[in-house]
C-alpha cells in the first residue's frame, strides 16, 4: 500500500537544499542519492571518512580501499576529501552536516528514535547513528509505516532501546509525510491512493491532521 522504497527516497530528495552536506544511512536513505534534483548540488558525507561520495564504480574501477559506511564500493568526485574517523565525527557533532536521513524500527511522537537493537534477538550495534542523531540539525526518518507484523512504527513511546531522544523532525513513510512538533505527529501529506483514515489506523501515536494537508507530489 502506498509508496515503494524508491518513491519514499524520491519524496525525501525534495527536502534537499543547494549546498547541503548530507549523511544518508543504510537502506532506503542510500537510494536518495539517485533522486537529487539537477538544479542543486549537495555533498554526501560518509562517516567512515569521505566528503563528496560519488556513484558506485564501474566494475574495472572497483577499489577495496574506497568504500562507504555501508561497506559498499564507491567512487570519489572532483572536490572530494578523505579524512579519519575522529575528524568525520567532529564534523557531525560540530553541527556541520545539514541533514541526516536514516531508517528506524520505531519513532515516538516526542521525536525519539529506536534503530539499533532488539534485546535478545538482534545485536548489531549503533554504528554512527547515536552520534548522528545527537547532533544533526535536521533529521529525517525514512521507513515503512508499519512493521512486518503490521504493527505501527509511529508510537506514543518507543518500546525498543532508543538511539536518541527528541531528535527526529520529519518522517517519510510509504503512507505519509509526518512532522513532529510539540510531542505530536502532524500529518502533512498522504501518499497517492492512501486515505487519512488508513494513516490514522496505522499510527499508534497521537496524530494531528495539518490544516494544509495535501497529496504527496512525486516528480
Amino acid at each position: 500500500m502506498g509508496l515503494n522504497k524508491f518513491q519514499i527516497a524520491q519524496r525525501i530528495s525534495q527536502e534537499l537544499n543547494d549546498g547541503d552536506y548530507v549523511n544518508l544511512g543504510i537502506g532506503i536513505p542510500t537510494l536518495i542519492a539517485n533522486y537529487i534534483p539537477n538544479n542543486i548540488s549537495v555533498i554526501m558525507q560518509s562517516e567512515n571518512g569521505l566528503l563528496g561520495m560519488g556513484p558506485f564504480p564501474k566494475r574495472e574501477d572497483v577499489d577495496p580501499d574506497l568504500i562507504n559506511a555501508g561497506k559498499e564500493t564507491i567512487t570519489t568526485l572532483d572536490g572530494s576529501s578523505i579524512f579519519n574517523s575522529s575528524e568525520s565525527f567532529a564534523m557531525i557533532r560540530g553541527g556541520r552536516v545539514n541533514l541526516t536521513v536514516l531508517g528506524a524500527m520505531e519513532v515516538s511522537q516526542a521525536g525519539d528514535i529506536a534503530n539499533w537493537k532488539i534485546p535478545g534477538k538482534m545485536v548489531k550495534g549503533m554504528g554512527g547513528a547515536m552520534d548522528l542523531v545527537a547532533s544533526a540539525k535536521n533529521i529525517i526518518v525514512a521507513m515503512m509505516h508499519t512493521n512486518k507484523k503490521g504493527e505501527s512504527k509511529l508510537l506514543k513511546k518507543c518500546s525498543l532501546p532508543i538511539t536518541g531522544i527528541n531528535c527526529v523532525k520529519k518522517i517519510v513513510t510509504n503512507l505519509a509525510v509526518i512532522d513532529i512538533e510539540n510531542n505530536n505527529f502532524i500529518l502533512k501529506e498522504y501518499a497517492p491512493g492512501v486515505s487519512v483514515e488508513e494513516i490514522k489506523n496505522a499510527t499508534e501515536g497521537d496524530l494531528i491532521i495539518a490544516d494544509s494537508i495535501s497529496e504527496m507530489c512525486l516528480q
Binding site: 560518509s46 562517516e47 567512515n48 571518512g49 569521505l50 556513484p55 558506485f56 564504480p57 564501474k58 566494475r59 572497483v62 577499489d63 577495496p64 580501499d65 574506497l66 568504500i67 562507504n68 559506511a69 555501508g70 561497506k71 559498499e72 564500493t73 564507491i74 578523505i82 579524512f83 579519519n84 574517523s85 575522529s86 568525520s88 565525527f89 557531525i92 557533532r93 525519539d112 535478545g120 545485536v123 548489531k124 550495534g125 549503533m126 554504528g127 554512527g128 547513528a129 547515536m130 552520534d131 545527537a134 547532533s135 532501546p161 532508543i162 538511539t163 536518541g164 531522544i165 527528541n166
Partner: protein, 229 residues
Amino acid sequence: MNKLYNNAHEAIIDVKDNNTIMLGGFGLCGIPENLIQALVKKGTKNLTCISNNAGVDDFGIGLLLKTRQVKKMISSYVGENSEFERQLLNGELEVDLIPQGTLAERCRAAGAGIPAFYTPAGVGTEIAKNKEIKLFNGKEYILELAFQSDFAFIKAWKGDALGNLIYKGTARNFNPMMATAGKITIVEVEELVPIGSLDPNIIHTPSIYVDRIFEGKNYEKRIEKITTQ
C-alpha cells in the same frame, strides 16, 4: 633507533594473554591483515579487542573469534559476523557496543593525553547508564573515558623506516587515531619506502607515534559488498 621488523610474527613477539589491542579498519577496509593472521598463529588468548567492527566469519577479527582468542570486543557495529552474534547471545563473549564517534574520540583522547571528554552521543539511551551527565549551555552531555591499550595494530599504505605513514582512500578510518593511542604501536604497510621519499606535507601519521613497522605480504583486501554501476 631501529623500528624496522621483518614480519608480523617478529613484531608481535611480546603480545601476551589478557592484553588489550586496538585494531584499525572499517569493515574489512584498512585492517591489519598480516598482524591478525600472526596473532591467530601465535594463539594468544583472552584478548580485549578495540575495533570499529568484528570482521566477517572467515576474515579480519572474525578469524580471532573463531579460534576463541577474544574475551571482549569493544566496537560500534558488528552486524557482519554471525559467529560473533552467536557467541554474544550465548554469553560466551563480552561486548561493549559504543557509538562510532565516541569510539574514535576515545582513541584520539588516549593518544592526546586527554583522560576523558563530554559528548552528546547516547544521551537518554542505555549507554548513558552509570555515566556522569553534565549540562553545558542547556544541553546534556555524557562523560566518556579515553581508552587504554597495550598495543595498536595499524595498517597503512606507505611508510618509511622511521614510521612516517600515509593511508589510502577510506582505508584511513580509525588507523591514525589508534596509531597515537597504543602503548606500543605496530604498523604494517603495503609498501616500505626509503626515508625521505615521502613528502613531509602529506604525512598522515608522524613517525613519533610508531614503535614498530614492517612491510606486509599477500594482501587479500577482501571487499564486503562489491557494488557497481
